[in-house]
């Protein structure tokens, strides 16, 4: 990537060099099935890391391990050098399917994290309104989620996760349920939000273009049992334009790694099913 070095610009706010999240030899079994073989990585403070991989490779599982919803079978997972033992308000989560609370208005969904902390209602609303404004939801504070479009629901979910001020924002395929137009719009917005929020972000995605457009680093996972097969740094300033040739080059590079991996997985799968068929006949 010698081409890029000439163009390195100081990253906005500078992704720090202190490791925020460290994974050491993470292994995860579901029953007897090995889902994660060996994952080791380090995610720095204020870094935006995208994790990409073939479907079913366990990228969401890795995110849930960081979130504390699931436990690793082996290995060590640290946040601020402290082992992760369960979910906590230092990590905010946004799911593909939004998971809003339908009985709460937009404003109450967004303030919930602060309500739970016991923050005064007035202060909670003030802090919520900031993120409601930045996510473009002003005017919808009193609407119930069922009346919102998919893109707006996702904005509520993002505002909800940012309002209680987590150090790390975990995004689980945040644009997966959105149509293309809404998605492109949200990607632009997320870049600006990130500049504003200045947090560590870990995003799971299966879209290479999303990953290269948003992230400082893209980790590519292998198919199951998963390992990290590539760690690509994208040293381009934000906001990024998908037509930028350098961005295209990264996109092609990662796509190539990914399709080689998918090809390998598919041929293995075919061999296995052919073997099973021969055994059957």
């Amino acid at each position: 990537m010698s081409v890029d070095t000439a163009r390195i610009l100081p990253l906005r706010n500078g992704a720090g060099t202190n490791p925020k999240i460290v994974a050491k030899n993470i292994q995860k079994y579901f029953g007897n099935v090995l889902a994660m073989e060996d994952i080791s990585c380090s995610i720095n403070e204020r870094e935006f890391v995208a994790i990409i991989g073939p479907s079913g490779c366990g990228k969401s599982t890795f995110l849930y391990l960081i979130a504390g919803f699931e436990k690793a079978s082996h290995g060590e997972l640290l946040i601020n050098n402290v082992p992760i033992t369960g979910p906590g308000p230092d990590r905010g989560i946004v799911f593909q399917e939004f998971v809003l609370f339908p009985w709460l208005t937009v404003l109450r969904n967004v303030t919930l994290g602060l309500d739970i902390k016991g923050v005064q209602r007035q202060e909670a609303e003030e802090r919520a309104r900031k993120w409601i404004r930045l996510t473009g939801l002003s005017g919808f504070e009193d609407a119930y989620p069922s009346t919102l479009s998919g893109g707006m629901k996702q904005r509520v979910a993002i505002a909800r996760a940012l309002t209680y001020d987590p150090e790390v924002l975990l995004l689980d395929e945040p644009f997966g349920a959105l149509d293309v137009q809404t998605k492109n719009y949200m990607i632009q917005d997320l870049q600006n939000l990130w500049l504003e929020a200045n947090r560590t972000i870990v995003m799971i995605t299966h879209s290479v273009s999303e990953a290269v457009q948003l992230a400082d680093r893209v980790l590519v996972l292998s198919s199951r049992p998963s390992r990290i097969i590539a760690d690509v740094a994208i040293k381009l300033p934000h906001p990024r334009d998908l037509r930028d040739p350098l961005l295209r080059r990264h996109e092609d590079e990662i796509t190539a790694i990914l399709s080689a991996e998918v090809d390998k997985a598919m041929s293995l799968e075919r061999q296995a099913s052919a073997k099973a068929e021969r055994r059957g006949s």
Binding site: I93, V99, F101, G113, D115, I116, K117, P145, S146
Partner: protein, 280 residues
Amino acid sequence: MSVETSDVRLERYDLSTAPFGAMVGIGRAALIVVPLILWELCSRFGLINGFLFPPPSMILYKLWVQSGPIGNPPYAIWWHVAYSMLRLLSGITLAVGIGTLIGVALGMSRRARLVFQPIISILMPVPTLAWTPVLLLLIGIDNRTTILVVFLAAVFEMIYIVASGIEMMNVKMLWVAQSMGATRWQIFWRVIIPGIFPYLITGTRLGTGYAWRALIAAEMLAASSYGLGFMIYDASEYMNMDVIYGGVMLIAVLGYVLENVLIGKIEAATTEKWGVLNER
């Protein structure tokens, strides 16, 4: 769990007359009024036995007299209704509270479910009235007996529906609350209870229906002075057909009010406003 209905609103239970206007309203009223008029005429002109089928006007008159100061005892109808309602609402409240707690416990723990499912499945179909003789021997003719009958009639439905509501709930809702640092107590009140609200409403509605039927029957066996069931039973001893029919009419009207108007109001203020569908 509840399905959001932003795009397609499935108004399965909406009986508003809007699309057909007055026609439906007239049809509905006619189905109640016309048979009553026929009954009235047949009874008055001796086409049917006037003792077994006293004219509706006489029945209503009897109800009117019995709810006034010259009733026997004075204001009798009000007392009967008040006692029945007291027993019903106490029993239902107990059933909703205890049923919700047990249902949540069963829903949250797979092990508890495996242990308790069979016993609940066995007890659920036992007609509540079958317990009444036992309760009568244990407690005697007392409000507690009828309240317990109401409780038993409603509680199994509550447990069952709440447990399945929890099972249907998106576990990610709990995750979101956990990652906000919510305590178990906060998760219970802020996520689980509102999350299963559509099921709570359905359970309460079904449970109230069962309980209402069980109550009237239990009052015939286990009430000594007041209650609509007692009123009908007592009237049958004296062959007061008008009181019997009056009691039946009151039961029908009160049951309708409870199930549709009262619970309907709660529904409109909660799940309908939220745009989630009630599970039935």
